[in-house]
């Protein structure tokens, strides 16, 4: 089949249709996207605020009265606008598989163990300088049905609203040196040179003595037509 030229952000991000990731084939339009000039509703808008959070919880390592199994990691970073300036007081939501690569979800049925003390969800806000952090355990890799012997690299899902409609971002954070990158179409749907922006930095300075390994993950939100620094 032909692949429509309808990337939301040509050159830096994944095309809508990436046939090697099979589910994209029937879940995206064949018509090109319609370019709209930036208007009020795209550049302002409501956000989920503190009162909508369902509570801040930036520690995934404690649940149901016990400690999660796995390598404890401390994930921190900044949320930045397309202009490189910090985005203060914005919601950061994260979710992930447990140390064995299993999600606490009714549709995840591969035979890796669930951890009674790991739910795999965190919600936090950036501070006045755009910093966020949470504590979790290293997520495991897991197999999926996309192709023969397909495995997802270890990753943590992130969801951010930013300050306006155009800044809305859902992405995944990966880990440096993951041996499964070479065969993962989701990671590789993003053009080379940009995909590495999704890989966190091992951070010895933020590694907590006798407690948790540090990783830094900065997130840069898109803005006006996603053409920064020009």
């Amino acid at each position: 089949m032909s692949t429509p030229v309808n990337a939301a952000t040509d050159g830096f991000f994944a095309p809508l249709h990436f046939p090697e990731y099979r589910t994209t084939i029937k879940r995206n339009p064949t018509n090109d996207l319609i370019m709209v000039p930036e208007r009020l509703g795209e550049i302002s808008g409501p956000v989920f605020g503190d009162r909508d959070l369902g509570g801040i919880d930036n520690d995934m390592t404690q649940a149901n009265g016990g400690e999660a199994i796995g390598q404890r990691i401390f994930v921190h970073g900044r949320v930045l606008g397309w202009d490189g300036k910090p985005v203060p007081h914005t919601l950061v939501e994260a979710w992930q598989a447990n140390a064995a690569g299993r999600y606490r979800h009714k549709n995840d049925s591969w035979p890796a163990p669930l951890d009674p003390h790991f739910n795999g969800v965190a919600r936090t806000m950036t501070d006045e300088n755009g910093h966020y952090n949470f504590l979790t355990v290293m997520p495991g890799m897991y197999p999926w049905g996309n192709h023969h012997n397909a495995w997802r690299p270890a990753h943590i899902h992130f969801s951010l609203y930013g300050r306006q409609f155009t800044e809305r971002l859902v992405t995944q954070m990966y880990f440096p040196g993951d041996p499964m990158f070479f065969q993962d179409p989701i990671y590789n749907s993003v053009p080379a040179g940009a995909r590495e922006r999704m890989i966190a930095v091992f951070d010895y300075d933020e590694t907590r003595p006798n407690y948790a390994v540090g990783y830094k993950f900065d997130i840069v939100l898109r803005g006006k037509n996603a053409t920064p620094f020009e």
């Binding site: 939301a8 991000f13 994944a14 990436f18 090697e20 990731y21 589910t23 029937k26 879940r27 995206n28 339009p29 064949t30 018509n31 319609i34 370019m35 709209v36 208007r39 009020l40 509703g41 795209e42 302002s44 808008g45 409501p46 605020g49 369902g54 490189g84 979710w95 598989a97 999600y103 979800h105 795999g120 969800v121 192709h147 023969h148 397909a150 899902h157 969801s159 409609f165 155009t166 809305r168 992405t171 995944q172 440096p176 070479f182 065969q183 179409p185 989701i186 990671y187 590789n188 749907s189 080379a192 040179g193 940009a194 995909r195 590495e196 922006r197 999704m198 966190a200 830094k216 840069v220």
Partner: protein
């Protein structure tokens, strides 16, 4: 992709760039919400945008290019208040942003107030669709049949044959719309926008 192994395995070149500090600084790419989005993004009553006033129910159903329901879709609504202003500052009883998880029929129902027109634009809901198999959010709009939408500058960008696909269908207690992610007939596919 460099090649495909005979077993169907993929092989991609892995760069020497180890992490984001070694990569060129820039906007973080989007990735799919995946099939387990419910773990991270389910919030109680997040599909209730308004709790006071003359509320209506707006129901969306999402279908894919096979006509099958997208049971793991997530839909978000961004909208004005009835007076046409956005509540960048929170107002009690109205949030302006809704988020809902589809059921097994690909359906999400929001409770909200009818949005108002702005100086430039007809009243509409901004609709974001996320799902497994989508590497980017898809953005569409929903306009209302009782309004004069003829001079809306965004609707004007849509070819005439597809404009009706952005107009809500009235039902008891509110409105409904089917979002067609893909269709063999391009004129029956929901228009999606790029911002």
């Amino acid at each position: 992709m460099i090649d495909t192994h005979k077993t169907g395995e993929f092989r991609y070149e892995v760069s020497d760039i180890r992490d984001q500090d070694e990569a060129e600084f820039g906007i973080t790419p989007s990735q799919t919400v995946g099939p387990y989005v419910h773990i991270g993004l389910t919030l109680e009553d997040s599909e209730v945008i308004a709790t006071e006033g003359d509320t209506v129910e707006v129901t969306f159903s999402v279908i894919d290019g096979n006509g099958d329901p997208v049971a793991d879709a997530m839909i978000e609504i961004w909208q004005t208040r009835p007076d046409g202003t956005y509540n960048t500052d929170e107002v009690e009883g109205f949030r302006g942003l809704g988020r809902g998880m589809a059921d097994e029929t690909g359906t999400v129902t929001f409770t909200t107030l009818r949005p108002g027109a702005t100086e430039e634009e007809a009243a509409h809901l901004k609709v974001g669709v996320f799902a497994r198999g989508m590497l980017e959010r898809l953005y569409t709009r929903l306009y209302f049949p009782e309004n004069d939408n003829s001079s809306d500058p965004v609707l004007e960008l849509v070819d005439a044959a597809r404009r009706d696909l952005l107009i809500a269908e009235p039902v008891d207690g509110g409105y409904r719309k089917t979002i067609v992610m893909q269709h063999a007939d391009p004129e029956k596919e929901t228009p999606f926008f790029r911002v």
